[in-house]
C-alpha cells in the first residue's frame, strides 16, 4: 500500500505518469520491456545503469557492491525500459550468495532482454559468460564497456565483427563518459530476438551426459534444457532446486548420469567445461581484437597503484589513508560539524525555541516532556540523529566512497590478507570490516560478498564485537582527543580484542580457511558526482534506518519514565556500571546502546563531556561501549542474514566479553595508577 503510494508520488514528482501496474488508467500507451544487466563484477554495470536510468545505483570500483538488485526506469521513444542491475556474476553457476541472486533472476524471472556487460580490455575471458547466455537461449545483447581504458592499453574491439560472430546486437560504450549510451538505448528498445549463435562443443563424455539429462527434463524451464543440463552437471544447487520442483521424478536418474560423467574427470567436470568455453571464446576473440599503439610510459595512477601494494611503500600510503579518514571523520565530522550543529544550531536556536513553543502549546509538563524533555523526541531524539550521528556517518561515507571509487580497497585487501588469514578470513573481508567503521549494520549486510558461510559468520562476529561505527569512532575520538595516552590505550585494547577474539573464533569455528584471489582494478580518480550520489544513497538508507529508531527510543524512554520502569532498569544497571568504575550517569548510555550503537555513543558523549570523570574511567567507558552489544538494528540484520541462532550466540559471547574486558582494564589501570 505505502509502496504503491510512494511510487505514484514519485511519478508525480518526476513527471512520469502511471503507477507501473498493467491496465492502469493513468498509464500512457507505452510498451514496457524489462532489461537485466548481467556481467562479472567491476565491469561498470552500475555505471551503465546510471547512464540509462538517471536514477541511482551504488557504483564503485570494487567487485561486489551491488548486493541487492537495483531497479530503475528509462524511456526510449515509445518503449519504457524497466532496468534491473544484478550483482556481479562470473558464471551462470554462482560462486557466492550474491551471485546466486543473479542466477535466480534468470531462472525464475527472466527479463525481456538480458544485456551482458563486459569490459573491453578483458573481452577474452568474459566471452565465456556471453556464450553461456547464448546457450541459455534468452534474448541477449552485448555491451562492450570501458573501451576508453582498453584503447589506452593498446586494444581495440571490432564491434561489427563481434556482432557477426555471435549473431547478436553489440554496442561499444564508455559509461563513465557517456560514450555509446545513445546507441545502447536504441539497441535496448529495438527488437530482442533469441540469438541463434553457435553453441560450445564440449568433450564427448560431457556432451553425452548433456543429451541424456536434457531428455529427462520434461517440464518447461525459463532457460534452455542444454543450459540447465550443464548447470546440473556442475552440481549447481539453484538448478537442482528448480528441477526438484518441476521434474521431481527425474532427479535420481540425473544424479546417476552426473556421477557417471564426473568419474571421467578426477578434478571435476568444471575444468573441461570451462576450457571448452574458453576455447570457443578464444576463437571469437581472435577474430575481433586488434592491437593498437600502446602507451609505453606508465601513468601516475599505475605507479601509485604499484606503490600502494608494495610491502614497504604501501605502509605509509595506508597510514596516509587512515590519517585522511581521521581528518575527515574525527576533525571535520566530530569537531567542526558536530560542534556547529549540536552546540550552535540545536543548543542555541532549535532547542530553546522548540522548548518554548511546546511549553506554550502543551502546558502539561507530562506531555511537553515527550517532545522537549530530557529525553524528548526533538530535543534528544532528533538532535542525536541530525546533529551528532548524521554528520559523523556522512563524513565517513564520503571517505569510503572515495576509497571505493579509487580502487584502493582491493589493494588494502591484498596487504592485509596474511593477517586476516589468522582470523579465519581472507583479505576480501576488509570491505565489510572497513565499511563497518561507518555503520556496522550496513556492513553486516555487505558480508554477503564473502564466499563461505564460515567467513560470513566470523566477519559478522568481528563487526559486532570490535569494529566501532563512525558515530562511536567520532565520539570516542572527540572524548579522547585531549588524552593522547587514553587514545593509545583504547586503540591497543580494541585492536588486541579484535585480533585475539578473531583468531580464537577462527580456531573454534570448524571449516577450511578461505582462499584469497582478487582482481586489482586500475586506480581511477573518483568522480565527484559519483561520490556525491553514492554518499547520498547511503545516507538516505541510513537516515531511513536511524531516525525512526531514534524517535522511537525517545518515546519508549518517555513511556518508561511515565510508568517508572525506566529508572528501575537504570538502577539495575548501576552495579554493573559501578563495577567498571563509572559514574551512575553512564548507565543510560549503555541502555541506549542496546537500541542503537551510535545513540549510546552520542549519549556517552553528552554524559562524559560534561567533565568530572577521570581519564581512566573515560578509557574504560569508551572501550566497553566500543566492544559492547551489536545494537538492535544490527541484531535484526544479523538475525535476518545469519539466522537467529547465530545472532543470539554472537550476542551472548559479546556481552560478558565486553564487560569483562572493561572490568579487567579498570582494575589494571587503577592498580598501576596511570594518569591519563
Amino acid at each position: 500500500m505505502t509502496a504503491r503510494a510512494l511510487q505514484l508520488l514519485r511519478g508525480i514528482v518526476t513527471g512520469r505518469r502511471g503507477c507501473g501496474c498493467e491496465a492502469c488508467p493513468l498509464a500512457p500507451a507505452l510498451q514496457t520491456r524489462t532489461v537485466t544487466l548481467f556481467g562479472s563484477p567491476n565491469v561498470g554495470k552500475s555505471a551503465i545503469f546510471n547512464q540509462l536510468t538517471g536514477s541511482y545505483a551504488v557504483v564503485s570500483n570494487y567487485p561486489g557492491t551491488t548486493v541487492e538488485v537495483t531497479r530503475g526506469r528509462a524511456r526510449v521513444g515509445d518503449v519504457l525500459l524497466e532496468v534491473l542491475d544484478s550483482p556481479g556474476a562470473y558464471s551462470l553457476a554462482p560462486f557466492s550468495e550474491e551471485e546466486g541472486v543473479s542466477q535466480q533472476l534468470l531462472l525464475d524471472d527472466p527479463p525481456d532482454l538480458v544485456l551482458h556487460v563486459v569490459e573491453a580490455k578483458h573481452l577474452r575471458r568474459m566471452l565465456p559468460l556471453t556464450l553461456q547466455l547464448v546457450e541459455a537461449e534468452i534474448p541477449l545483447a552485448l555491451d562492450v564497456n570501458i573501451v576508453d581504458e582498453a584503447a589506452r592499453a593498446g586494444l581495440a574491439v571490432d564491434v561489427a565483427a563481434l556482432s557477426r560472430e555471435l549473431r547478436l546486437p553489440v554496442v561499444a560504450t564508455a559509461a563513465a563518459t557517456g560514450l555509446g549510451i545513445e546507441q545502447l538505448r536504441a539497441v535496448l528498445a529495438g527488437p530482442a530476438p533469441v540469438p541463434p549463435g553457435t553453441s560450445v562443443a564440449y568433450p564427448q563424455a560431457i556432451e553425452a551426459a548433456i543429451a541424456q539429462i536434457a531428455a529427462l527434463l520434461r517440464a518447461r524451464y525459463r532457460i534452455s534444457t542444454r543450459s540447465l543440463a550443464l548447470l546440473l552437471l556442475l552440481r549447481d544447487a539453484g538448478a537442482r532446486e528448480r528441477v526438484r520442483a518441476a521434474d521431481p521424478g527425474a532427479l535420481a536418474e540425473i544424479e546417476r548420469i552426473v556421477a557417471e560423467a564426473s568419474a571421467h574427470y578426477p578434478q571435476g567436470v568444471a575444468l573441461p567445461i570451462a576450457m571448452a568455453r574458453q576455447e570457443a571464446a578464444d576463437r571469437v576473440a581472435g577474430r575481433v581484437l586488434r592491437k593498437t599503439e600502446k602507451r609505453i610510459r606508465p601513468s601516475l595512477a599505475e605507479t601509485l597503484g604499484r606503490l600502494a601494494v608494495h610491502p614497504v611503500a604501501g605502509l605509509p600510503i595506508l597510514a596516509g589513508v587512515i590519517y585522511l579518514m581521521y581528518l575527515v571523520v574525527g576533525r571535520l565530522g566530530a569537531g567542526v560539524l558536530v560542534d556547529l550543529l549540536d552546540k550552535r544550531l540545536f543548543g542555541h536556536y532549535v532547542n530553546p525555541a522548540v522548548t518554548a513553543f511546546f511549553q506554550r502549546l502543551l502546558p502539561w509538563p507530562l506531555w511537553s516532556s515527550l517532545f522537549v524533555g530530557d529525553y524528548g523526541v526533538i530535543t534528544l531524539g532528533a538532535r542525536y540523529a541530525l546533529a551528532i550521528v548524521l554528520p559523523l556517518v556522512g563524513a565517513f561515507f564520503v571517505v569510503f566512497a572515495v576509497l571505493e571509487d579509487s580502487g584502493y580497497l582491493p589493494r588494502l585487501a591484498l596487504l592485509v590478507d596474511r593477517v586476516f588469514k589468522r582470523l579465519g578470513l581472507s583479505g576480501r573481508a576488509v570491505i565489510p570490516l572497513v565499511l563497518g567503521l561507518g555503520c556496522d549494520t550496513m556492513a553486516t549486510l555487505v558480508t554477503r560478498v564473502l564466499e563461505t558461510r564460515r567467513e560470513r559468520v566470523l566477519a559478522t562476529f568481528l563487526l559486532a564485537l570490535a569494529i566501532p561505527c563512525s558515530a562511536q569512532l567520532g565520539v570516542i575520538l572527540g572524548l579522547l582527543s585531549s588524552h593522547p595516552l587514553g587514545l593509545l590505550i583504547w586503540t591497543g585494547v580494541v585492536l588486541t580484542v579484535f585480533l585475539v577474539s578473531g583468531s580464537l573464533a577462527a580456531h573454534l569455528l570448524p571449516g577450511e580457511a578461505s582462499r584469497f584471489y582478487l582482481e586489482i582494478p586500475p586506480l581511477r580518480t573518483p568522480l565527484v558526482r559519483n561520490v556525491a550520489r553514492k554518499t547520498y544513497a547511503r545516507l538516505k538508507w541510513y537516515a531511513a534506518e536511524v531516525i525512526p529508531l531514534f524517535l522511537l527510543v525517545s518515546v519508549v524512554i518517555w513511556l518508561g519514565e511515565l510508568t517508572h520502569v525506566f529508572p528501575l532498569v537504570l538502577a539495575a544497571l548501576h552495579p554493573l556500571v559501578h563495577a567498571l568504575g563509572l559514574p551512575s550517569a553512564a548507565a543510560d548510555s549503555f541502555l541506549f546502546g542496546f537500541i542503537r550503537r551510535d545513540y549510546g555513543a552520542a549519549r556517552l558523549f553528552e554524559v562524559l563531556a560534561g567533565g568530572g570523570i577521570s581519564g581512566v574511567s573515560l578509557v574504560v567507558a569508551t572501550v566497553t561501549i566500543t566492544l559492547f552489544v551489536p545494537c538492535l538494528a544490527q541484531f535484526l540484520v544479523m538475525q535476518k542474514e545469519r539466522g537467529l541462532r547465530t545472532a543470539l550466540a554472537v550476542t551472548s559471547v559479546i556481552l560478558p566479553l565486553a564487560f569483562g574486558v572493561g572490568y579487567v582494564l579498570n582494575l589494571i589501570l587503577t592498580a598501576s595508577q596511570v594518569r591519563i
Partner: protein, 244 residues
Amino acid sequence: MPELELSEQAEEALASVWSERETSGRGELAARELAGDEAARKELREAGLIAESSGMVSLTEAGEAEAAAIIRRERLAERLLTDVLGVGEGLMAEAACRFEHVLRRGIDDQVCTLLGHPRVCPHGSPIPPGACCRAGANAAGKVVSALADLAPGQTGVIAYIQGRRRDLVPRLLAMGAVPGTPVTLRQRFPSFVLDLGNGQVAVDAETARDIYVQLKAVPPAALRRPRWLARRFRLRRGQSKRER
C-alpha cells in the same frame, strides 16, 4: 639394491594394483583383474613386489615403492607431453606409455624439477612426490614452475591450474588465469601480485602454488639477484616490456 629391471608387462601389472586403490580405495585386486599375463605376475612375485592370498593381489612394501615410481614416471611423462611438447589428448596415452619407460630413476627427478614439481597429472590424478620434490630442488633452466616459485619479474604463460578444491579452478579461470594467458609476477609479499593478460590479480601463497606457469625466458638478472632481495624489495616495473 641393484636396479630392478621389470618388463613392460610387469610394470603395467604393478601399476594396475596402485590404480585400483586410487579409484576404489581397496588395497587389493583380484588376480584375474591384474593387467598383464601370467608371466608378469610371476615376475612380480619372484621380485617380492606383490603378495597373493586367496586369489587377491596386494603390494608388498617394496612393491609399494616400485609402483609409486612407475606411476610417477607415467604421470610426469603425461605432464611433459602436454605442458612442454603440446601433445594433444588423442596421442597422449600412447606417447606417455613409451616415454614413461625412458624416464628411469634419476631422470624422472630431473624432469620433475624441470616441470616445477607438478602435483597432479593432466587428468587430475596425484603424482607421487619424489626426493626432488621433498628437497624443493630448483633448476635454472626449468620450463614449468608453480607461480609460488617464481621470482618477481619472471614472465611466462599460464600452463595449468591444479585445483584440489572443486570451486577454485572455475573461479581462477573467470579471473583470467586461462591457460595460454601471459603472466608476469610482480611481487610475492604480502600477497602474490601478477599481471595477467591485460589486468592485475592478487592471490595468496596457497593459490600461487596451484597455478603453474610455462616460463618463456628467464631474465638472467632475476636469477643472479639473491632471492630474498628479489622477493622483498624490487618492484621491477617495465622489465618485461623491455624484453618484448
